[in-house]
């Protein structure tokens, strides 16, 4: 296997999210208004807990993708603002439930909601946001959009359960891992980019193209998220470094390090993933093995493949600013260090 990575942008500057951020700034203001308004409730704990996570930052990639997708499709209405907020609510609900499931204590660089507010409130406010997301979609009134997002939600939940089943299972294959991240992450990215095609009454092939862009970008994003958790060169990711290791999650850097390792290394991985070696020095050893087999790099290489497919998926759209920003976002998804 070659260690040469073909860079997407061999000579240019590092790709950034800047073009995407600039083009969607106005639309995201409208989306953020909907988010703030619709996370309110007469029960004060709900906006307090939801706001802890929602105002805690995060890139808001998914709603941004809905907004930029509307531009690519030439959709000039404002229905996508509510729907982008619905997408973000579904994402927020899954983050809240993830934090309970993973017993996280850090999310987006802040103490996570389950630690501040407890598991019970975190589960229930997740349920509230999920219901609110459906209310927003019902207000919009498109059964096609409702079908896309209700189906994505079921797939996300299946992916999360599947990931749980694979936890601490050293024999988890790359194939199985692909299927998990395709469900738990890429399904919502795909829905987020497909929705504007429905609103803009794009052709079937354009709708498929936008969906493919989102799905591939989502896979690239998740691959790099999983790489960053072991990347000694990456900045703080906002979650605790080594969380995946301690939780015995079979992510690609580990799957590959196990596959490429010698018998002694494999014994270490078996013990570590089973939960018997999860101290700081074990994490340091894991990172050493991952560096030895260059599997953070290999994971980013895989991400490169999916980012390239995302870019090619939208090649049939006019070469405008929106398409360029979406392409650069895909490049960014591979190289990002946070």
């Amino acid at each position: 296997m070659s260690a040469n990575v073909v860079p997407l942008r061999p000579s240019g500057p590092e790709p950034t999210l800047q073009p995407l951020l600039s083009l969607t700034a106005q639309g995201m203001n409208a989306v953020n208004s909907v988010i703030l308004e619709r996370m309110q409730s007469e029960i004060p704990l709900i906006p307090a807990l939801a706001g802890h996570l929602i105002s805690g930052g995060g890139k808001r990639m998914r709603p941004m993708l809905t907004v930029i997708g509307a531009q690519l499709c030439g959709y000039h209405g404002n229905r996508h603002h509510k729907l982008a907020a619905a997408v973000e609510f579904i994402h927020t609900a899954t983050l809240l439930h993830d934090d309970v499931v993973d017993k996280s204590d850090l999310r987006r660089g802040k103490t996570s909601a389950n630690i501040v507010f407890g598991n019970p409130a975190t589960v229930l406010v997740g349920d509230f946001l999920f219901s609110r997301a459906f209310e927003l979609m019902v207000e919009d009134g498109s059964l096609r959009v409702l079908k896309i997002l209700s189906s994505a939600s079921a797939i996300i939940a299946e992916g999360e359960v599947d990931q749980l089943t694979a936890q601490r299972q050293i024999e988890t294959s790359e194939e199985r891992y692909q299927s998990i991240i395709g469900a738990k992450t890429a399904a919502l990215f795909a829905a987020a980019t497909r929705i504007p095609a429905v609103l803009g009454e794009c052709s079937e092939s354009e709708e498929r193209a936008l969906e493919e862009y989102g799905r591939n970008l989502g896979i690239a994003f998740q691959l790099v998220d999983d790489a960053i958790d072991y990347d000694s060169n990456a900045q703080e990711s906002g979650k605790d470094k080594g969380d995946d290791f301690r939780e015995g999650k079979m992510t690609l850097p580990v799957i590959l390090a196990y596959a490429r390792g010698n018998e002694e290394e494999r014994t270490f991985w078996r013990d570590a993933i089973a939960g018997f070696r999860v101290e700081d020095e074990d994490l340091a050893h894991a990172v050493k093995l991952i560096n030895r087999h260059d599997t953070v790099r290999a994971t980013r290489d895989r991400a490169h493949y999916f980012a390239q497919r995302a870019i090619d998926a939208i090649a049939g759209f006019p070469a405008n600013e929106a398409r360029a920003a979406m392409a650069e976002a895909a490049e960014f998804s591979v190289t990002r260090r946070y």
Copy 2:
């Protein structure tokens, strides 16, 4: 205050669910088929966990109400089978999340899912069933039904969070308690009975009547659930007796015993609800105080009021078998001991 309860059926036999069960038997077969079929997934843990609760019995009151409502409305299609299954999935999802929130270990007489499968899987399979419920509604395709059920879902979640906020708060008023059970329980009963009115294209006033029936019946049911938890004459309820007490839940039997108690009794309740007196002998003392002030009976009296309102709500419908079964179900909701 009088201790005389005016029985709904002064001289007749005890009301039962039998007429409702008989009239809905055929419809419920169809609903149960949908439930079994749609709780399947390629991820084996999902049907295993969902099936643990779903096949564990339970009265299936909510889908039965949708089925009997369709008969009352003279609706002869089969759309209500899918929608009744959706209602039961929403209910099942909230039960799974409740068990995590309350750290229950018994549900419907069986070890609860969170104990058998762990909290993470229980939360995520709840999410799956909730998503599946929305998929079923989207397949049906009625935006009016979607609006009713998405709004009910958000209200349920708000009610659950509100209940959590009131936990261990001795000063919780009956008013606040009413608002909590109206949201966490009665909203779904109301949606379950309103849906068949939408399908049957009933008049607005009939739709309102069916909704009122469900809402009042739901309140009566929850009141009696809360009474049974302290009722020394009640049969096994399928959940651990005294769960509400140990969790410091401010249910009506306690609210009234605290209100009617002397200073010494109030001190006991303050300590108990705060979580400082939750041993078996404390529970026995709590039951003694509740018996002294007859607040289980008082709670059933309140339920009687709501059951009567439920019966009166549907008085405008033709006096057929379906209406009689619905009336008897409301009477049963007051006197039931399980």
